[in-house]
Amino acid sequence: MSKLKYALFTGCTAKQSTPEQYMSTMALADKLDIELVELTEASCCGASHLQDYDDFLSLVLNARNIAYAEKHGLTMVTICNTCQLNTAMTKHRLDENADLKARVNEKLGEVGLEYKGTSQITHFLYAIIDDIGLDKLKEMVVTPLSQFNIAPFYGCHNIRPSELQNESHKTAENPYKPSSLDDLIIACGGMNVDYEEKNKCCGFHAELQAPKTAAILTGKAIAGAMDSNADWMVTPCPLCHLKLDTQTHHASEAIGRDVSLPVLHMQQMVGLALGCSKEELGLKHHLVNVDFV
């Protein structure tokens, strides 16, 4: 098998508030012998907020990002659920609407680019599951996470809307009973924790607009994991990570109970199992200390 190679869309967070996510992505790719071509030309995906203001502009910008992956002739891999949603949704809308695609391409033409629709877009989590496979991953584990109860937190924008999301990967995900992250935990030797909030919203996208609502959602998510005896949580989404890791004070206040758990990025968890060092994985960049490594 030839070496796996993808165009990496890092998103904005990996370069700012979650440096550990970028570090662990690179460390893990190295361990998995994956080549990542970073799309340094890419802009922000709009995070579904620019979409509220100017939908057409967000389509043009996302189409531009995809056009760069197409230029490399590679599948685009995302490491943020919200990047995945907005990029995949742009692709879906342009691929099914020739008129809209023409309007977007008219703009892209001004800067010498074209959206063709030739690159697939998938989250790193699904790239690992689909292209490497859990069986092979299991064989690569050198430090099984067998002493840990790990609570998966899926993040909305990787599992809903399921019709769109299931276009992006081979392994179909049931949004009411998702299993990919559970399977990944098991492959790493850990014990997956089942709890009601694992496929629910963390509140990130309303943190400024509706802080109380957002804090209650965060609190319920962490509390759900704690009540199911989780030692820590794991998520494929850096925005969920930020909400669950940095907002524990507000969350505790909102639900009237102290809640806090270490929240690892999916890449950090797999990296630990595959023998990456805690320095490589940037474990010191968490607000809730990762004290078990």
Binding site: E41, A42, S43, D54, L61
Partner: protein
């Protein structure tokens, strides 16, 4: 033509039971049934009532996915019982199915809930055509097929409540209108005959109750049995707030607009800059968390941001492709 084979399988149902008149707490009843591939969820509700317990209560009427009465939850998934095939349910969840009302805390008797809050919010967004109709018109009031197309999807709503009771914000914030009311509001906002666009948008712009409190979880789109796609209508209403000049400057509108400024400047987002732009002087409340994040190396100062390569392209596209003003 191939022959159609009917298959059967054994399914265990765990059914929510509660009678607000006599029960202190709800409980679950278990039923094991042979289910055929031709049955829908409503057939199971009927069989529970007809074959096992005549007191089992649920709403049903049209049996054709039009009246919206029979929506319930199966393993947490909102389901229009008369439309959802049992095969699709066992394919999704296996052979252990939990049957519950749309909202447990609003249960009155078994599957029957008090939908009072749903209708109250539905009424609050003025879900009707507001137009100064000339009673003696000289000619027809023409609506083009393209104009009608704009509201067709939203018009499919049957008010079943599936999206409303799947929305996590509805559960937390009792003022929040919820996805069904928003989709209905859009249906009239997109109607060219309506004269109350601005008025209705102002109601939708209000914080706590309005559009800006949506958390973008897509539970509503997932729950809708009629492909109304409520969150898509929420986005379109957001766009209308700006297009119609209803959006006033607040943390939510500045947050949406701030993305454009940030992208035009750096290509990527300046996270700190966005929060500052959105919050204004209220930024002070974020200082304690920001300080902790700074110590952990989670905050990049504006001068440390790695801008996108080929930033000129992005600047040019922001200039040429913008369609909204604020």
């Amino acid at each position: 033509m191939g022959t159609h084979t009917i298959t059967t399988q054994k399914v265990n149902f765990k059914v929510f039971r509660f009678n607000a008149d006599v029960d202190y707490l709800p409980y679950y009843e278990n039923y094991e049934m042979e289910v055929t591939s031709e049955e829908v969820v409503l057939d199971i509700l009927n069989r529970i009532k007809w074959d096992h317990d005549g007191s089992f209560s649920y709403r049903r009427s049209c049996r054709h996915g039009i009246c919206g009465a029979c929506s319930i939850k199966v393993n947490g998934k909102a389901t229009l019982a008369c439309k959802q095939s049992m095969t699709s349910m066992t394919e999704l969840f296996g052979n252990e199915l939990t049957i519950e009302p749309l909202s447990i805390k609003r249960a009155v008797k078994d599957m029957i809930i008090d939908k009072g809050d749903f209708w109250e919010k539905h009424d609050a967004i003025r879900p009707y055509l507001i137009s100064d109709v000339n009673e003696h018109p000289e000619h027809e009031h023409l609506v083009t097929p393209e104009e009608a197309e704009e509201l067709n999807e939203a018009d499919l709503c049957i008010q079943c409540g599936s999206c409303h009771y799947a929305c996590p914000v509805v559960e937390i914030n009792e003022d929040f209108f919820g996805p069904a009311a928003f989709a209905k509001a859009y249906r009239f906002e997109a109607d060219v005959r309506d004269d109350a666009h601005t008025e209705r948008l102002q109601i939708l712009h209000e914080e706590k109750q309005g559009l800006w409190d949506c958390v973008k979880c897509f539970e509503c789109q997932e729950a809708c049995p009629k492909d109304v796609n409520p969150i898509d209508k929420i986005t379109k209403l957001h766009n209308m707030l700006f297009k119609e000049g209803v959006a006033t400057s607040n943390v939510a509108t500045r947050h949406a607009v701030g993305f454009k400024h940030s992208i035009a400047k750096n290509g990527v987002l300046d996270e700190g800059g966005l929060v500052l732009y959105s919050e204004g002087p209220s930024i002070v409340k974020h200082i304690p968390v920001a300080a902790k994040m700074f110590i952990k190396g989670k905050i990049v100062p504006p001068w440390g941001i790695t801008k996108s390569d080929n930033l000129d392209e992005i600047k040019k596209l922001v200039e040429s492709s913008s369609t909204a003003k604020f």
